[in-house]
Amino acid sequence: MRMSSEKTLARTGVYAFLVISAAFFLMPFYVMVVTSLKTMDEIRVTSIFALPDTPTLQAWVTAWQSACTGLNCNGLSVGFFNSVMIMVPATVFSILLGAVTGYALSFWRPKGTGLIFGILLVAAFIPYQVFIYPLVRMLSQVGLYNSLAGIVAIHVIFGMPIMVLLFRNYYAGLPRDLFSAARVDGGGFWVIFIRLILPLSPPILIVAVILQSTHIWNDFLFGLVFAGSDNQPMTVLLNNIVNSTQGEKAYNVNMAATILTAAVPLIIYLASGRWFVRGIAAGAVKG
């Protein structure tokens, strides 16, 4: 009897901890949503936790269409489309390159495999500041600094360590006999890749897409440095809208803009469920 009441107490403790933690994680999101649905007049007089009296989407419309950074009042939509233009090619190219390289490294083992693998492993940990200035100079030399092609190239470059490690580790787990048999049948490099390896790759491709698309969407530093004012990604534009405003800030617009910027990775996260966790585990392997 005593045993079971102790157990009940422990269970209650577990759930109390989980619920309080969940409240801590959800609170900022709740505040973001309710703030974005209020008018500025209401924000001035009510608590940030209060539900909106008469919810309005006006702040969302303003954030999307006409929020200002300095003299530019074109809203966050510009940044959204810039981010899409950056994310799609950068994700595709970094995954293609990572898959081909991972395949070559694990099955064909060309000269220098150990060296390239080692350098990529180390590079995954090097602070980006170490590379930035030389890359700015190099891209200006070839006329790609402050261009869409330039920022895509940067994302492909810095996606390489994690993508190659991801695909190499996955391919290293495939049975080598499959590959040997295909070799005996006379399959060449590309034929084996396309006919044999790619059809076995969907799980790791999904992980790679989740990892790369969220990373690239969430990037701030590279977008700030390399994209140029015409291609500013959403994160950079968002920060400019919120942090460079003079005078009283439109907090409702700021929060609507913040949710809009978080929306794409959040949708990817919610839609991918356990795959996202797998991506993290795969990313953690590099440690």
């Binding site: 577990v14 901890f17 989980l18 933690s21 969940a22 801590f24 994680f25 900022p28 505040v31 973001m32 924000i43 001035r44 608590s47 940030i48 936790f49 390289t101 060309p110 220098g112 390239i116 350098i119 990529l120 590079a123 940990f125 090097i126 602070p127 500041q129 170490v130 590379f131 930035i132 200035y133 190099m138 470059i157 390489m160 190659v164 006379g186 060449g188 490099f189 969430n218 701030f220 530093l221 994160t235 968002l238 920060n239 919120v242 942090n243 907090y251 929060m255 913040t258 910027t261 978080a262 990775p265 959040l266 990817i268 919610l270 996202f276 966790v277 993290i280 585990a281 953690a284 440690g287």
Partner: protein, 294 residues
């Protein structure tokens, strides 16, 4: 034979892009940054060598010293709190609870969002005039004060708070995966012996999942050294220089102050810090692996 060599050629052709990326973008950039850090370059690189002069200047600069000490305070607290909180969350999640998928989703969703979003949300939630402080005062606690975000000696803890909110779910996910790998028989054995559950977690399970904890620590430590976006969005380095960090110091000297050599010396110091984290970790792992084999 000819066919064979043709295939080899394809392999090397396929490896060409990654070689270019590694040699040009990664290796030669690092070397170049180091070389510039040994010069007096201001806006453009000039190759008049002054060897470690910039490092001397850097280490003497109050702005750099503040940035480094901020980073140490931030890093130690962030990593410690994330590990403890993440471990406790993982243990609680491991108690055959209802709604596990829900809690997992909730604990991990901040990790899917960018540092910029994290910084801006917390900036708003902690706004002294409108945020938590104002809300609690509105409930009748007129003297309630929680304005650390504008207090120079407290703002760094706000940075910790926001970063823990963003990153502790990751630690939970990694450690929970580790807990799920613990042998069920171990639990049965300890139950029969009547060992208290918390003792099993701290003295038996924790050593088993130590490699996962080490992985999480490395991931967190590297993200600490890289810390930039969160600071820019949350506090802009302020109030004053209370939350300045090395990455921001480097960026400002590169682009706003046009002090390229000094900035690159700072970047190299960041690299040294990462090496100082990774090398002992690497040897500790090898040592543990060897011990496990014996």
């Amino acid at each position: 034979m000819a066919k064979f060599s043709g295939t080899r050629a394809h392999v090397y052709l396929a490896m060409l892009p990654v070689w270019i990326i590694v040699l040009v973008a990664l290796v030669s950039s690092t070397v170049w940054t180091f070389v510039i850090s040994l010069t007096n370059s201001k806006l453009l690189p000039v190759y008049k060598f002054n060897f470690f002069h910039q490092y001397e200047l850097l280490l003497k600069q109050p702005a750099w010293q503040v940035a480094v000490s901020n980073l140490i305070v931030f890093g130690v607290l962030f990593i410690a709190i994330c590990l403890v909180f993440g471990f406790v969350m993982a243990i609680m999640m491991d108690q055959r609870i209802r709604g596990e998928a829900f809690f997992r989703t909730v604990f991990l969703y901040p990790y899917a969002m960018s540092f910029v979003v994290t910084g801006l949300v917390w900036q708003w939630v902690l706004n002294p005039g409108f945020g938590i402080q104002a809300a609690v005062r509105g409930l009748g606690f007129e003297n309630f004060t929680f304005d650390w975000i504008v207090q120079p000696d407290r703002a760094i803890y706000i940075l910790v708070l926001a970063a823990v909110w963003q990153g502790s779910g990751l630690v939970m996910a990694i450690l929970l995966a580790g807990l799920r790998g613990v042998d069920e028989d171990l639990w049965k054995a300890t139950r029969i012996d009547g060992i208290a559950k918390w003792r099993v977690y701290t003295s038996i399970v924790l050593p088993i999942i130590a490699p996962m904890a080490a992985t999480a620590t490395v991931l967190l430590a590297v993200s600490v050294v890289k810390a930039y976006d969160l600071v820019v969005a949350l506090t802009g380095g302020g109030p004053g220089n209370a939350t300045e960090v090395p990455a921001k110091f480097v960026m400002e000297n590169l682009f706003a102050r046009q002090n390229v050599a000094l900035a690159n010396a700072g970047a190299i110091m960041m690299l040294v810090a990462v090496i100082a984290i990774l090398v002992p970790m690497y040897y500790a792992r090898r040592y543990m692996a060897q011990k496990a084999e014996v």
